[in-house]
Point group: C2
Chain length 359, copies 2
């Protein structure tokens, strides 16, 4: 409810009457209720003063009650959800804040036709800014999601065997983490082997893993609505000197960036630390993407950790650090951790070893 | 290109200058190019006269060229995609058709700020109506997707064994169809066993299948951008008389509805045929959902086959027929086929047997 109060303070400061929030991630953020209503109406109405209410399909009301203690307005398919929404408003609304980057034109017109003379204002940036700094409760979930990602890597490594395909291993890893209580995966799991590791966005397939391959796992797990995202690259069979050198270069770059994390440092300084380290080793041209991305309810959110981002790190920000070298003739290697900015430094959520494992 | 011509005819008839289409499914429908650009701009600009162009991220241009022979405008992250879009317009635009149920308010405002005095008109229903009737080329893909769904059921049945969990079987089935060339699954695969079959929206888990269980597979496969959707329920071990009776009741209802399909019949008549058949057998209260849904680029599209839909079936419509009985103490059974309305009847795309299999 602290989050709703913060939103109301913004509405007061900006002389807005209310906000109507409909992005499922944001509804979850403000109410704790996670749902994907597809075409049906789901939203939180937040008046500048007084109690907020949730509107959702009637069949979801019992579920919603477990998470949200305020008023819940249910609607059924035989009634007009938008009429019901506007009839439930607790105050007169002339200025309404909406998520302009999420609400469709059709839905805005539904509101316009029902609220005489309403003016809309965008609330997207305000919510982005709020979600940027995680609460202690959010960190609890993120730690749990990271622990399960560590477990997934452990399972993945234990499965490596000649004759198995990338897809075999991928399926078994996903089954294992779901059995341990993951709500789902944060994104399509990646298990790549051999020179396929040299593609940052490669697709796992029926390639069998072979002795001498590096195997790259990039995966994440959702726990209580929060995402983790980890990458580890391991050697299947004894690596060559060239493979080892690339591995150690990425590891050093990753550790340098992690060591730098604390309030006041700029996002771009992290990117530069890792990039400079890789460039100094002569692999600069093979590190072709940004260093990392924010993490929370979405697997990609703010802050973005790239070379142009002047944003100062603040306590409570959570993001990935994931440098990589993609050498088309030797191997690809990426190492990725999830980190939290603490009052005076960094907490690393993902704890699986970064020493080169030879399986 | 025939599809673009049909859209231009609509623009002419309605005195619109152009349409700008951005829903990835619709972009695929009109250009053959399938992409999910996330936040980045992807769209087709269709002027009332002359050539249409595609706009997409620069890195996707090579891919797009394989599918779309017209002009392709690429944009990079360092330039404004909306400026580039408007600068590429081939005619003056005062009246622009957009997908109001897909375009966000933010994007509409981007256009508004760049096109002096533009007026928007919704094009959603027109595209829905076009997509409702499949071309012969689309049917080729749908047949292929259905054949692979049949194969998935075959694999699923061959995997049934004591001690295996629903998730084990699910993973193996998905791996098998992806190995056969499926682009992906149409939706989250469902493998339910025992009394879990009695929940129309159950979630597969770590329940082990046991002798005496019915096992329900509900799954679909995407091939060349087109979806299939099949359900079969099979017996693991000798079924009881009560289980058999429910099975035969669903099978009869399904076959009655399928037999009725031809141009001119109303959607609701199909629903009624299946429902009456189940009610006559005394199981009416356990058939709790509509009979079926349209199928194509989306796994749920028009027409909806329910008791209130007065729409006349027309040649080229494709939809599912999927009655079910969900008896909480005996078993759930659902049988689902994908069908096409032909000139004088029906073509059933899914061909896996509907006789009760005892594995």
């Amino acid at each position: 409810m602290q989050k709703l109060a913060a939103l109301q303070a913004y509405l007061t400061d900006n002389q807005l009457d209310a906000a109507f929030i409909t992005h499922p991630d944001n509804v979850f953020y403000f109410t704790g209720f996670r749902s994907n209503p597809h075409e049906r109406l789901l939203g939180v109405f937040v008046p500048v003063q007084g109690e907020s209410f949730l509107i959702c399909p009637q069949m979801e009301v019992p579920d919603a009650k477990e998470f949200f203690s305020g008023t819940i307005v249910g609607h059924v398919d035989t009634e007009n959800a938008w009429d019901k929404l506007v009839a439930s408003f607790t105050i007169p609304v002339a200025k309404l804040a909406i998520e302009k980057s999420h609400m469709t034109v059709e839905r805005m017109e539904f509101l316009e036709s029902r609220i005489q003379g309403v003016a809309f204002s965008g609330i997207d940036e305000v919510i982005t800014e709020m979600r940027l700094i995680k609460t202690e409760e959010e960190l609890v979930h993120l730690r749990e999601a990271a622990a399960l990602a560590d477990y997934a890597i452990e399972v993945g490594c234990s499965l490596l065997a000649e004759g198995k395909t990338e897809m075999d291993i991928l399926s078994e890893v996903e089954t294992a983490v779901k059995a341990k209580g993951a709500d789902g995966m944060s994104f399509s799991t990646m298990v790549l082997s051999g020179l396929k590791t040299a593609s940052p966005h490669g697709t796992p397939g029926n390639k069998k893993i072979e002795k001498g391959d590096f195997v790259l796992f990039d995966l994440g797990v959702i726990v209580n609505g929060y995402c983790s995202d980890i990458t580890r690259t391991v050697a299947f069979g004894e690596p060559t000197a060239a493979q080892r050198e690339i591995y150690e270069t990425v590891k050093q770059a990753e550790e340098k960036a992690v060591a730098l994390v604390r309030p006041g440092v700029l996002a771009k300084e992290l990117d530069a630390a890792a990039r400079d380290s890789i460039e100094a080793a002569g692999y600069g041209e093979y590190f072709t993407h940004r260093l990392g991305h924010g993490l929370g309810i979405s697997v990609h959110e703010f802050p973005s950790i790239h070379g142009e981002n002047d944003m100062e790190l603040r306590e409570g920000m959570v993001f990935t650090i994931e440098p990589g070298i993609y050498h088309p003739e030797v191997t690809g290697v990426r190492i990725e951790d999830d980190v939290v900015v603490t009052a005076d430094g960094v907490e690393v959520l993902t704890k699986f070893t970064k020493e080169l494992l030879v399986v």
